[in-house]
């Protein structure tokens, strides 16, 4: 599903973050990536999403090198095959929950009749006409999860999805995320600092300045 081949990346000021990074993630796997601050976890997610380009090396999604795609093709790939969950939720404040969740469907030109069901799945039944300002942080992240999965993406990228939530809500959200990813048969990458969060993934990868290494999973279902 996802292949990282000798990926290198340095910031504009010259600081190197990713060095000869290689790894292969199979379809349906759900991996957590941990690492120190500034080691390049978010940068790695941006590279996988095609939002940034590696200095050298290649990232392939189902055999297609992302760097070989032009901006429109990369955008289409994200639109059809990717789901995103962010630490800061990033929901559009002037759209209702229904509209926020329907965004990927609209962009893909597919029917939006799944929205109500998805909203119910994340525990927000009958709240589709509410606006984001009427929701708590945990509820907002539920909306973000629903939006990330509504179009049944093949790869879900989650960047510190529980970083702004209290432990109980975070646990609830992580369980929900895992359940939804698995239900949809997607592949997932969860970037986190939290061992508890990482434990909800199938396995954990540790990102260091030398590369990406598997560590023993602490997941307890």
């Amino acid at each position: 599903m996802l292949e990282l081949c000798n990926v290198n990346k340095a910031y504009a000021e010259g600081r190197r973050v990713l060095t000869n990074l290689s790894y292969t993630l199979k379809a349906g796997e759900y991996a957590a990536i941990m690492g120190d601050s500034g080691v390049g976890k978010s940068t790695l997610l941006n590279l996988i999403a095609g939002l940034d380009t590696p200095d050298s090396g290649e990232i392939r999604i189902n055999g297609v090198a992302i760097s070989s795609l032009d901006d429109n093709a990369a955008t289409q790939l994200r639109r059809e095959q990717f789901g995103f969950i962010f630490q800061a939720f990033h929901v559009l404040p002037h759209l209702t929950l229904n509209q926020n969740i329907a965004l990927p469907l609209l962009l893909n030109g597919t029917p939006t009749d799944r929205v109500e069901q998805m909203l119910a799945d994340v525990g927000l039944r009958d709240r589709g006409h509410h606006f984001p300002r009427q929701l708590s942080g945990g509820e907002l992240q539920r909306v973000a999860i629903a939006r990330a999965l509504i179009h049944r993406p093949k790869l879900v990228l989650a960047d510190e999805p529980t970083g702004n939530l209290d432990p109980d809500t975070a646990h609830e959200i992580l369980q929900l995320m895992r359940a939804e990813i698995k239900t949809n048969g997607a592949t997932g990458i969860l970037v986190t600092h939290s061992h508890a969060a990482a434990a909800t993934a199938d396995f954990v990868l540790n990102l260091t300045k030398d590369g990406l290494y598997p560590v023993k999973s602490e997941r307890s279902e």
């Binding site: 429109n72 955008t75 990033h90 893909n108 030109g109």
Partner: protein
């Protein structure tokens, strides 16, 4: 459901959340379009009505023959009537006569009287025939009859059978209102008399204003016009209706251009408001747009989304502007007249006509300038890297791209260059562009100005206990100056235009005051109720006035209108005593002049206004010909003077030269200097002479 739905959601979501900002932008666009559209409607309506009114006076004639001066000898008429190719010649005497009861309005106290030959007018301009009472057809030839248009009757508050008093030189004559006219345009204030009666009653025996010619079928008008002009020589001009229209257009050109520039200023301010609204809107939604890009919005879709927002603003604002502009035009014409009080088209009552093509043009102008205000923010938004833009704190960096310093430097440099360029077709196009560029350059410099000013302020004040709020405010302004610059730019745009207007008006008023003191140095001026160009005061009246008690000095002026170019309005000729030792003692001369001592003995000097330099290319030292005496006379341009009063050009010459050339000793203006201790009222009251009693009825400035 599709991307159109998404676009609609995003659009209405944003507008719902920022209704006030959107409303202000809409109002700004609407005001800009409304001003431009209303000014155009008013100008067009007034111009068309004035042209139509002029055409109605000249009837169905093919050509018209005028003198270079207001009147010419009627002996030309039989010559023209017998010219081969002429089917009909119609002599006309046209006079602007002072109405005694209307003197309180200096710009609107004259009635246009047209003397026509009824037997010829019936074939060439039947609309001008008088409507007599039943059985009184011969009233059209009666020696006391005058026929008035409905607007003239209303203005003069008279009806058929009433008496009407009019000033003729130093006398007052009374005529009988014999009826109305066959047809006159709404608001057209004219009177018609038999030409012979008009010549007699208004003391213009043997004189005509013009002869209208109807050519025989098959005669080539253009060729005939050229041939006739050659035959008649330079004392006469032969014109077609189109020449008249050009003259009318030229008469109000500067006024129309300046009003249109005012409208453009409003539109520019509207554009800037749209630009700043869109910039702030895009910056505020930077993370939202980045999210959309991450989720699968292409750059093209995002660009389309932002430009569509601007386009919808432009469409709504422009439509509102068209409606508002039409309403303003209708109201302005009703309240102020077609020239907004400028008196270019006196008495004209135009109707506003909604022309779809014109409306579409102004709609597109409003739409395009609004979309221009959206393009820069839209381009910045699509160029932004989503991963970077998703993080907060990048707003000020993004805004810096809108107003780069090099752009400001280029704008200001080009503006300075433009100030040195000449006009195009007589219009200061580069001057207007320079103002716009200076304004844009100034706005683009605002971030640097804000950063520099607030940084220094913060440094200077840091030793004092400022308090948290003030420190935070100053720190934000100093370190994130681009957001402050947008607000500062709006203030700069509106405030600088306001200050510029105030400075312009104030300096103009000061200049006018100084100029008036120089050109009108006397304490009292008496202007005769002249008919056309005929002087009001003959020699005996002048002697009587010169002998009046209470005055130190009395000067006599003679003014008349001259046509130098058939496409331009008349220029004004002033004949007056000019100080021979130094003309600057009499005229407000610029530095461009020949010293009086250096003037050759055998030439007649003239001093031309700056408008003559611009419009006719007169230069100091040039020898030019003017038709002062009916035929052409050579003069030396001895200097240039500043004239705020006559934008179409004016020439000053020695009164003695004028009288020698024309043999006309009459004058129409008297300047009087009061003796010390004497007041104007006392001087007038002390005068018991018959001349003064008569002069006292006339307009005294």
């Amino acid at each position: 459901m599709n991307s159109v739905s998404l676009s609609r959601w995003l659009l209405f979501g944003e507008w719902r959340a920022h209704f006030v900002q959107m409303s202000v932008a809409l109002i700004a666009i609407a005001i800009g379009v409304a001003m431009a559209f209303s000014i155009h409607l008013i100008n067009t309506a007034a111009f068309n009505e004035f042209s139509a009114a002029s055409k109605s006076l000249s009837g169905q004639s093919d050509l018209q023959v005028y003198g270079r001066k207001a009147f010419f000898d009627e002996s030309l008429y039989p010559l023209l009537a017998n010219t081969e190719g002429v089917a009909l010649a119609n002599p006309v005497l046209e006079l602007d006569v002072v109405v005694p009861g209307k003197l309180q309005n200096r710009n609107d106290h004259k009635l246009k009287i047209i003397g026509i030959d009824m037997f010829r007018a019936v074939q060439i301009s039947p609309d001008l025939l008088g409507l007599t009472e039943e059985g009184k057809t011969l009233d059209r030839l009666a020696d006391d009859a005058i026929f008035l248009s409905p607007a003239a009757m209303e203005w003069l508050q008279v009806k058929q059978g009433d008496s009407l008093s009019l000033h003729v030189r130093l006398q007052t004559i009374t005529l009988r209102v014999a009826g109305g006219l066959v047809r006159a345009r709404a608001g057209q204030r004219i009177a018609v008399m038999d030409i012979g009666v008009a010549q007699w009653r208004f003391q213009q025996l043997g004189l005509l204003s013009r002869v209208e010619l109807k050519l025989q079928d098959g005669v080539n008008h253009a060729a005939f016009k050229v041939k006739l002009a050659e035959q008649l020589g330079e004392s006469y001009r032969v014109v077609e209706a189109i020449d008249q229209e050009k003259r009318i257009a030229n008469m109000s050109r500067a006024y129309r251009v300046n009003l249109n520039m005012l409208a453009l200023v409003a539109l520019f301010t509207g554009t800037f408001l749209v630009f700043s609204t869109q910039v702030l809107s895009v910056i505020r939604r930077r993370q939202q747009f980045a999210l959309l890009r991450v989720l699968g919005f292409t750059r093209q879709q995002l660009l389309r989304q932002i430009i569509t927002e601007g386009m919808i603003l432009g469409v709504i604002g422009s439509l509102l502007g068209l409606g508002l502009g039409y309403a303003i035009a209708v109201m302005a014409i009703q309240l102020l007249g077609g020239d907004l009080g400028a008196n270019f088209f006196p008495g004209v009552k135009p109707g506003v006509y909604f022309d779809l093509l014109t409306a579409l043009t102004f709609f597109l102008v409003g739409l395009v300038v609004t979309m221009l205000g959206s393009v820069a923010p839209a381009l910045e938004a699509v160029r932004a890297k989503p991963a970077m833009a998703l993080r907060s704190g990048s707003e000020d960096v993004a805004m810096a791209k809108f107003l780069p310093p090099w752009f400001a430097v280029i704008c200001v440099s080009v503006a300075l260059l433009f100030t040195q360029l000449p006009p195009i077709f007589g219009l200061p196009v580069f001057g207007y562009l320079a103002i716009a560029l200076l304004l844009i350059g100034g706005i683009a410099l605002m971030p640097r100005f804000a950063a520099w000013t607030f940084s220094r302020l913060l440094t200077q004040l840091q030793h004092y206990r400022l308090g948290a709020v003030l420190t935070l405010v100053l720190a934000r302004l100093a370190n994130a100056p681009n957001q402050a610059a947008i607000a500062l730019g709006g203030i700069l745009a509106s405030f600088s235009l306001m200050v510029a207007m105030a400075i312009m008006v104030t300096s103009f008023r000061i200049s006018i005051d100084g100029w008036l003191e120089q050109v009108l140095p006397a304490d009292l001026y008496v202007r005769a109720a002249a008919i056309g160009d005929q002087g009001g005061f003959q020699s005996d009246a002048q002697r009587a006035i010169a002998g009046l008690p209470g005055f130190d000095r009395v000067d006599f002026f003679r003014t008349q209108q001259l046509i130098l170019d058939v496409n331009r309005p008349e220029i004004t000729l002033f004949a007056r005593p000019v100080d021979r030792t130094d003309a600057r003692n009499t005229l407000p001369l610029t530095d461009d002049m020949i010293a009086s001592g250096s003037l050759p003995e055998n030439v007649m000097p003239i001093w031309v206004s700056e408008a003559m330099v611009d419009l006719y290319g007169y230069r100091v030292g040039d020898k030019v010909n003017l038709p002062v005496s009916g035929t052409s006379n050579e003069f030396l341009v001895a200097g240039v003077w500043r004239d705020y009063g006559r934008q179409f050009g004016a020439v000053q010459m020695q009164l003695a030269d004028y009288q020698r050339l024309t043999g006309d000793l009459s004058v129409n203006t008297v300047a009087l200097w009061l003796q010390t201790g004497m007041t104007a009222d006392a001087a007038i009251a002390n005068c018991g002479t018959a001349v003064w009693r008569r002069v006292g009825d006339l307009p005294v400035e």
